[in-house]
Symmetry: C2
C-alpha cells in the first residue's frame, strides 16, 4: 500500500503514465516489444508499486499496452495504420456565400444529447474537466469577494484574468502585456468581434478548406463570402495557395487555424506560418489566428502561433479555455493587436463586459498553476482515445477509408470511399444514436461529401466501442 | 429587545419602513405633520419597538422624516419642488447617424472610478446588492453540481433560469412559456441581438429623445440611423408623434423604454402603450421593448410593458437583473416573439451560449423567492436617495433649474438654465471628482445641451451631499 496522500498519488500516477507513453511514442519500445517491468518503473521513478500497477492497468484499458500472463506488459501491436485523407484541390472558384446553416443546425441539434454516442461533440467528457476544483475556487471567491463578484467588470475584463493570460502567452513565446488582452465570452465571441471589426457585409474572407463550421455560420450571419484555400491533413496551409488566392480575389481578412485545424487536425509548419504572416503583412490584410486547440499538443511543446511572427499588429489572436478547463465558463480571450480600440467598441455594444465570477475563478485556477496538470490529464486521455479509435476504425470501416493521426487537438478526419455520402451516414448514424459530423459542414463547396469528422473527446468504454463498430458497419452498407 | 431572528427582524424592519413611506407618499401625512408614535406603529404592525425605532432612525438618516425632541417624528418639509424639465420639440429632421461615441466613451471612462462621487453610474451601490446570498448560492451550486457548472449550456439558456423568468413574466401580466425565453449576456446583448435580427446597415431605427446612450452606441456600431420622437418627462411617448414620424420616414424597428426611461424617468401611460403597439402592428414594424427598470417602481405595482399589448409577436422584449440583483452576472434575457429562430442564430454565432454557473445561480435566487425582498430594499433606498437629492438640488442649483420626480428607476434628469452647457459642467465636475452624465449623450441632436442626468443609485452620506452641493455651485459658476 502506498503511504502517499491521494492527491500526491494521483499526480504520481499521471507521471508514470506519461513516462510510459513517452517510451512508446519515442519508438524506443516499438509495437509488440516488452515494456519495463512494474518494479523497474517504480524504482526508476521512485513511485510506489501500486501506482505503477494502476498506471499500466489504465493504459491497458485504453488499449495502449496489453498484459501477457506471467510475462509482463507489451506495447500493443496495432493493425497497419490507414493512409491519410486527401486534401482539397486548389481551385479558383468565385468567392461563395456561406450556405450550410440548415445542415449545421441539424448536426448541432444532435450535440449534447446524452443518449447519443458522443463522436459529434468536440467538448471534453465532463469527468476530464476540473469541475470540483473550480467549484471550490468559485465557492471561495464568491464568499470572500461577494461584492466584487456581483459588480460589473471593466469592458476589457478582469485584471487578474488578463494578467494570467499575458503571463502564459509570454511563456508560450508571445510577449504580451495584460493591457493587450480582451476577455471574451468564449473564443467564438473573439472571432465574432474580430470579423465585426475587420469586415463589412459583402466582403470576402479567406479560410482554409476544410474549416471549423462555426466560422462558416459566422460568415453567413455577417453576410460575408468565403474564399477557400486547401488545408492538407499533413502539411496544413501552403503559403503558395494563399498568395495565389490573394492575387485573384480581394480579401478583407483571413481566419486560419495553424494548429490542429478542426476538422483535419493539421499543423501548418512554423516556416509556413512565418511566410503566411509576411505575405499578409505586405498586403496589409489582417489575419484572425484561431488557436483554441494548441495547448492540446501531444509532443511536449506547444506549436508556434501565427501571432508569434506578427511584427505589424495585423494578427488578431483568439483563444479560450473552453476545450481545456470549462466550456460553461465561456472564458475566451483575444489579442486584437492594432485593432484594440474598435474591438472594445464592439465588445461594449454587444454585451458591455463578461461575467465577473467566471473570469475571477479561471484567473485563480491559472494563478494556482493548476492548468499544466489539467492539460497533462487531457492530453493523455485524448491520445488514449485516438489509439482506441484508430484500432477500431481499421478493423470496422470499409476498405479505402483514410484517417488522420493528429499530434494534438480532439478530432479525427475520415475520408470514406467516394460512393459514401457523409450526410447520409450522419442521418443513418443519428437513427442509431451515434453522433458524427458530416464533412459537408466544413466547407461552402461539395469537396468533402465523402468525409466525416469524429470527436476524440469522450472516454473509451464498451458502449463507445460498439457504437464506433456499428458506425463502420453503417458506412459499409452505404459503400 | 426583540426575540426574533436576525433575518426575520430585517424583514420586519423593511415592512415598517415601507408602511411609513406609504403613509407619507399617500399624502395622508403631509410635509410637516406628526407621524404615528413608535408604539402606535409597533402595535399596528405587531412589530417590536426596537424594529420600529430602527426604521424611523433609518428614515431620518435618509432625510424622509425628522425627529423633534420630546415630540416624535415629523414628515420632513421639503422646499417647494422644482418644475419638471421640458420635453424635446417634435421635429421633422432627416434621420441621423448616431455620432456621440467619443463623448460617450469619455463619460464612461469616469464611471467605475471609486474616487468619483457616483452620480454618473446607474448601477446600485454594491451594499444594496445581495452579494453575500448569491455567493452562498453559487458556492453551494458549484459544489453540488460541479460537472454541470463547467459544461456548456444550450444556446437558449439554462432551463431553470428560463422557467423562473417565465413564471415571473406570467405574474407580471405577460403570459410566457420557458421555451419563449432566450438567456443573454445582460440586456445589452438582448438589444444587440434584436437589432442584428431586425435591421441591416443603413436602416432607420426609431427611438425616443432623450434615450439611453447605449442605444445610440449600438446604432452607431451597426451603421444604423436614428429617427427621434420626443419623450416627455411626465407623459413619455405620445402615439401621435410616433404616427407622424412613421408617415414621414421608413423605419425598420423601434427601441422604446415605456417604463422609467433612462434618462428622463418617464412612464408612457398604459393606454398610450397599447396604442403604440397597435400602430406598429398595423404597419408590421417590430418594437424592441427595453424594460430593464420596470421592477424598480415605487407605487406598489409594476407598470405594464409594451409586450402585454402585443398580439402579433412584433414586440421583442428585453430585460435583465443587472439593475436589481447582480450586474456582474450579466443575467439578461429576451422574448424574441416571432423572431426566435433568427435570434438564436445570432446568439449562437456571437458567443454560442451564456456562462453556466451565473444562470444557474440567478435561477436559484429566483426559485427561493428572494427577489421581491431584494426589490423592496432597492426601491426604498432609491426613494430615500431621491428625497435627499431633490432637497439638495433645490437648495444648491442655479435658479431656473428643473428636475424630474420619477416614480421608479434610478435617475434624475435636470434641465439647467439655457446658458449652462452640460458638457462643460461634466468636465468641470470631473476635475472635482464628481461623476455626472451630460444631456448631449442621450440624443443625436443638440437638444439637451443644457441638461444633465444624475444617478440615484448611491447611498446618501456626507461626502455625497457635499459633492452634490459643489456640483450646484459649479453650475452656478457656468450660468
Amino acid at each position: 500500500m502506498s503511504t502517499e496522500s491521494p492527491q500526491r498519488e494521483a499526480f504520481r500516477y499521471h507521471e508514470v503514465e506519461q513516462h510510459v507513453l513517452r517510451l512508446i511514442d519515442s519508438k524506443q519500445y516499438p509495437p509488440g516489444s516488452r515494456l519495463p517491468s512494474l518494479r523497474a518503473v517504480a524504482r526508476h521513478l521512485t513511485a510506489s508499486l501500486s501506482t505503477v500497477c494502476h498506471a499500466y492497468e489504465e493504459l491497458e484499458r485504453r488499449g495502449v499496452v496489453e498484459s501477457r500472463p506471467r510475462s509482463g506488459y507489451y506495447v500493443r501491436t496495432l493493425p497497419s495504420p490507414l493512409p491519410l485523407p486527401h486534401s482539397a484541390p486548389a481551385e479558383e472558384e468565385e468567392p461563395r456565400e456561406a450556405n450550410r446553416s440548415r445542415l449545421i443546425a441539424t448536426v448541432l441539434e444532435a450535440v449534447g444529447n446524452p443518449q447519443m454516442a458522443p463522436f459529434g461533440v468536440v467538448s471534453p467528457d465532463p469527468t476530464l474537466l476540473p469541475g470540483k476544483k473550480l467549484g471550490q475556487i468559485m465557492a471561495d471567491l464568491t464568499r470572500r469577494n461577494a461584492e466584487q463578484c456581483v459588480a460589473y467588470e471593466t469592458i476589457p475584463g478582469n485584471t487578474e484574468y488578463r494578467m494570467q493570460i499575458a503571463r502564459r502567452a509570454c511563456e508560450d513565446g508571445m510577449p504580451t502585456r495584460a493591457s493587450e488582452v480582451v476577455a471574451t465570452t468564449g473564443a467564438m465571441e473573439a472571432l465574432y468581434i474580430a470579423l465585426r471589426v475587420l469586415t463589412r457585409p459583402g466582403d470576402n474572407v479567406l479560410i482554409q478548406s476544410p474549416t471549423y463550421h462555426c466560422f462558416l455560420q459566422l460568415l453567413e450571419t455577417l453576410g460575408l463570402r468565403a474564399v477557400e484555400i486547401p488545408s492538407d491533413p499533413k502539411h496544413g496551409i501552403n503559403p503558395a495557395d494563399l498568395s495565389k488566392a490573394l492575387s485573384t480575389f480581394e480579401v478583407s481578412a483571413c481566419i486560419l487555424s495553424g494548429n490542429f485545424n478542426n476538422p483535419d487536425g493539421s499543423i501548418t509548419p512554423d516556416a509556413a506560418k512565418r511566410e503566411i504572416v509576411e505575405i499578409l503583412a505586405a498586403k496589409n490584410i489582417p489575419l484572425v489566428d484561431d488557436d483554441v486547440s494548441a495547448d492540446l499538443h501531444f509532443d511536449g511543446k506547444r506549436p508556434a502561433s501565427f501571432k508569434q511572427y506578427d511584427k505589424k499588429g495585423i494578427v488578431v489572436f483568439c483563444s479560450s479555455y473552453s476545450k481545456t478547463i470549462a466550456p460553461g465558463y465561456r472564458a475566451g480571450w483575444m489579442l486584437p493587436g492594432r485593432f484594440m480600440e474598435k474591438a472594445l467598441e464592439v465588445k461594449a455594444t454587444t454585451n458591455v463586459c463578461c461575467t465577473s465570477p467566471t473570469q475571477a475563478a479561471i484567473a485563480e485556477f491559472l494563478r494556482l498553476d493548476l492548468y499544466d496538470k489539467q492539460l497533462k490529464k487531457l492530453r493523455s486521455a485524448l491520445q488514449g482515445q485516438i489509439h482506441h479509435m484508430h484500432e477500431c476504425i481499421v478493423a470496422s470501416f470499409p476498405e479505402g477509408t483514410r484517417v488522420t493521426s493528429p499530434r494534438g487537438g480532439g478530432v479525427l478526419w475520415l475520408e470514406l470511399p467516394p460512393a459514401i455520402n457523409g450526410v447520409d451516414l450522419f442521418f443513418k448514424a443519428r437513427a442509431s444514436r451515434i453522433g458524427i459530423a458530416p464533412g459537408s459542414i466544413f466547407s461552402t463547396r461539395d469537396r468533402f461529401s465523402n468525409y466525416i469528422r469524429l470527436s476524440c473527446c469522450g472516454i473509451w468504454n464498451q458502449r463507445m466501442e460498439e457504437a464506433l463498430r456499428e458506425l463502420g458497419g453503417l458506412a459499409k452498407e452505404l459503400a
